[in-house]
């Protein structure tokens, strides 16, 4: 078994209005920054998972992302692995 570090980024689907993102975008103007035409907010979920190999880790995280971390009706997600950790002693 190895330990894998990954990051799942969950964000609203492009067709879904993000009012919190819009409110934040309007605050950029108050900060004095012009020209921000798009700002959308997502969630970054960092996790460590024990798995046989990277494919095994990937399939577990995919299941988790589809069923728990994101709601596919309104959200999309992307997965990114960080450096692989050294093998766990068994």
């Amino acid at each position: 078994m190895s330990l894998f570090k990954a990051r799942v980024f969950v964000h609203l689907r492009p067709s879904v209005l993000d009012p919190a993102g819009e409110a934040t975008r309007s605050a950029t103007k108050r900060l004095g920054i012009d020209g921000v035409t798009q700002l959308r907010i997502g969630k970054s979920i960092e996790l460590e998972i024990e798995a046989e190999n990277r494919d095994d880790a990937r399939s577990k995280i995919e299941l988790m992302s589809d069923r728990l971390l994101a709601n596919p009706v309104i959200e999309d997600w992307t997965l990114e692995f960080k450096d692989e950790q050294k093998a766990l002693t068994s």
Partner: protein, 217 residues
Amino acid sequence: MNIGIIVFPGSNCDRDVRWATEGCLGISTSFLWHETTDLSGYDAIVIPGGFSYGDYLRCGAIARFAPVLNSLISFVDKGGKVLGICNGFQILTELGLLQGALTRNKNLHFICDRAKLSIESTKSSWMKNYKKHDSISLPIAHGEGRYQCSPDILKKLQDDDSVALKYADNPNGSINDIAGITNKKGNVLGMMPHPERACDDALGNIDGKSILSTLLS
């Protein structure tokens, strides 16, 4: 005849529902802790409003893995009636018993108000005391009540006559002013407004009474 109210850590309208069903309507009602799996002996189940599991991650996202909800799926398959109010509606969509999802109100505010609603479908027995386009008023109290679904699902809801309630003056940006929907079969109703808060004459509005009274029909 018995009504069960599912209680999660963080539910906060469970007692209001019981007051409405038992105190105002005289129907025998009991609480069901979320770890229960036995729903035998119940004729209808209510998932009340509140903030189940703190609404961490997304409203209803964690609650939907509660043991009681596995039993609820078979309860629904057998034709049992289930009403999800507010957080209960959010849980039913996360669980997949109802289509679509609920997300942050368009204006970002937690809205606590009275909403005028129009009865959009009388297909299911929930609205049998009303005629189509009847107007009622119910309290709303939510931060994430904006109903969203894909155009395909919206069409399906309309084709199946599953849009039960619409807002007269859309408070939260819900697609097509939707305030409540049923499943295709009609035995599951999810709604953001709170009928249990409009059942007692002392509160000056009893529009919720006729919806709750249909739990047992």
